[in-house]
């Protein structure tokens, strides 16, 4: 999209998000905070799906692992909440580094199925290993930390904390996809053999991008655990992975900001629609079908096309 459009659009979006606590009621503020957490997952997953072309159906694994990694030492061993966040991120990163060794050898549907299996194994573990994970009941009572003297129990403070993390992660990922390494990922997506004979070590880049994607998802997992002050096995379940994958596809894989926007909007839409009907997943399904029919490369790509038509010169 030409800079003329996307710089003002992103600016307005960020301005709106920063004004949310003064404009909207409590319920909506929480909703949008939750939306931004999912937006972080969407962007992290987009590195893998959009830039590298590897569809993952197991990203909830890293989301949930980070949450559990935070919850267990904090609630059972009495560790400080920040130390717990470190453990959570480390858990997600180590899991990605280990599983990535296997996963990056697979392509396409094989990658999809291996990530799905990985996620479901962890989910199964969280359900069965009650003494550690609390089973279906999960782990309640995760405390929120303080930041620079502000307690994150304060709803507005928590909102701005999530907002700050979202903006920093988004800015870093935008830089990342514009960087040489980001370009190289798209090259690997388009033609591995071409990249190989140019002298690139594809496997190394793929492994690194997989780990980065998982790590970013882990950041969102930490935020979600603080947000809910609770973690349960649902945070590891494949249906969460599927939802985030849909987010990426609806927003526009390979656009980064598309999945971020879709993350926020879908969380808001899910709550609004759930007030009216219980059939949210059906609405989501219809949305997905409509996207495939009218904007198969995502809503942002469709908008970009429409804008380009209006200005054939640019």
């Amino acid at each position: 999209m030409s800079r003329r459009y996307w710089i003002p659009a992103v600016g307005l979006g960020l301005l709106f998000l920063s004004a949310v606590p003064t404009l909207l009621p409590r319920y909506a503020i929480d909703l949008i905070a939750q939306g931004m957490i999912f937006a972080i997952v969407g962007m992290g997953l987009d590195i893998l799906v959009g830039y590298l072309g590897l569809p993952s159906l197991g990203h909830a694994a890293f989301f949930g692992l980070a949450s559990y990694g935070l919850a267990i030492p904090v609630t059972r061993l009495g560790w400080a909440p920040w130390a717990g966040a470190g453990v959570g991120l480390l858990t997600a990163a180590v899991a990605a580094a280990l599983f990535g060794l296997l996963a990056v050898r697979c392509r396409g549907v094989y990658f999809l199925v291996s990530t799905l299996a990985f996620g479901q194994v962890l989910w199964g573990g969280a359900v069965k290993w009650t003494s550690v994970s609390g089973g279906y009941n999960g782990i309640p009572g995760i405390p929120r930390p303080s930041l620079f003297g502000w307690s994150l129990w304060e709803p507005d403070a928590f909102y701005y904390f999530v907002y700050a993390v979202f903006v920093v992660v988004a800015a870093m990922l935008v830089l990342f996809v514009l960087s040489p390494v980001g370009k190289i990922l798209t090259g690997i997506r388009e033609s591995e053999s071409r990249m190989r004979v140019l002298g690139y070590r594809n496997q190394l880049y793929r492994y690194m991008a997989f780990s980065l994607s998982a790590f970013v998802t882990g950041i969102a997992g930490i935020l979600m655990a603080y947000f809910n002050t609770f973690v349960g096995p649902d945070s590891l379940h494949w249906s969460l992975s599927a939802q985030t994958l849909l987010m990426v596809i609806l927003g526009g894989a390979g656009t980064l900001l598309g999945p971020a926007g879709a993350g926020i909007l879908l969380v808001v839409a899910q709550n609004l629609i759930s007030n009216v009907t219980e059939r949210w997943t059906m609405v989501l399904g219809l949305l997905y079908v409509a996207t495939m029919l009218f904007a198969p490369r995502g809503v942002l790509v469709l908008l970009r096309g429409l804008l380009a038509q209006r200005r054939p010169s640019s």
């Binding site: 390494v181 370009k183 190289i184 033609s191 190989r196 004979v197």
Partner: protein, 246 residues
């Protein structure tokens, strides 16, 4: 110095012998063409030289170094580049991005992940000058999938050149091109710097004779003739097999 030497290379696909103990060498700076009918093993030979396929037996020497066990990305670093018979480009990227990825391949900046690719002046300048030099400047911002087939074949060669290779393998650079485009690509191939060794597979004999001085003829995986192109052309076995004349 010898740029490339292929030593006793055999390559099987199941029971089929695609290459049967093929040996020849190419001097540095040479223009060498591989001839042979369909299925003679020409593309397999290229794949073995670049490391995309492992030979069943034999050795590949690149600039005096045994590279038989080396991965293809490592061979690229020794100065080997190739084009593909079936156009192999980054379809969903622009022409500029295609060339940029080729320029970037062996630069330090390939490891940078925190700074836009467009902020490396050397990289941008090199990409731009290659595009201008080969008349692709106007197409810089166009996605490769929207360019013509002739332009794509040109881009294949530009990308191979961008890595500053010393040995370039061109796999049927003019395959499927119209007369005009063939002339253009032939001229482009003929004008490659003399320091670069060129090994090409070509079906169009006119192009082959224009571009190269030496030739190797393969038939059913076996080497039939090797030497100066005029001698090879006069070889009766070659005339019988390849040209279908007695």
């Amino acid at each position: 110095m010898t740029a490339l030497s292929v030593e006793q290379i055999s390559c099987h696909y199941g029971g089929l012998k695609a290459l049967d103990s093929v040996s020849f060498s190419v001097a540095e700076g040479a223009r060498h063409v591989i001839l042979g009918p369909n299925g003679a093993g020409k593309t397999t030979l290229f794949d073995v030289i670049t490391g995309e396929k492992s030979p069943s037996s034999g050795r590949i020497m690149l600039f005096g170094r045994d590279v038989t066990g080396l991965r293809s990305d490592r061979r690229a670093w020794l100065g080997l580049a190739r084009t593909f018979q079936i156009t192999n480009l980054f379809w969903d990227l622009t022409v500029e991005e295609n060339v940029l990825l080729a320029c970037l391949a062996q630069e330090q900046s390939r490891r940078v992940f925190y700074r836009p690719a467009g902020s490396f002046p050397d990289l941008v300048a090199k990409t731009r000058s290659l595009l201008e030099e080969f008349g692709l400047g106007k197409l810089a911002k166009v996605k490769v999938r929207s360019t013509s087939y002739g332009e794509q074949r040109q881009l294949e060669i530009v990308i191979a050149l961008a890595t500053q290779a010393r040995l370039i393998l061109l796999d049927e650079p003019t395959a499927g091109l119209s007369g005009e485009a063939t002339k253009l690509v032939t001229r482009l191939t003929g004008n490659l710097p003399a320091t670069i060794t060129v090994l090409l597979v070509e079906h169009d004999l006119d192009v082959a004779f224009q571009v190269s001085q030496t030739a190797t003829v393969l038939h059913q995986g076996k080497l039939i003739a090797h030497g100066p192109i005029e001698e090879v052309r006069a070889n009766p076995t070659v005339r019988q097999i390849y040209l279908g004349r007695r």
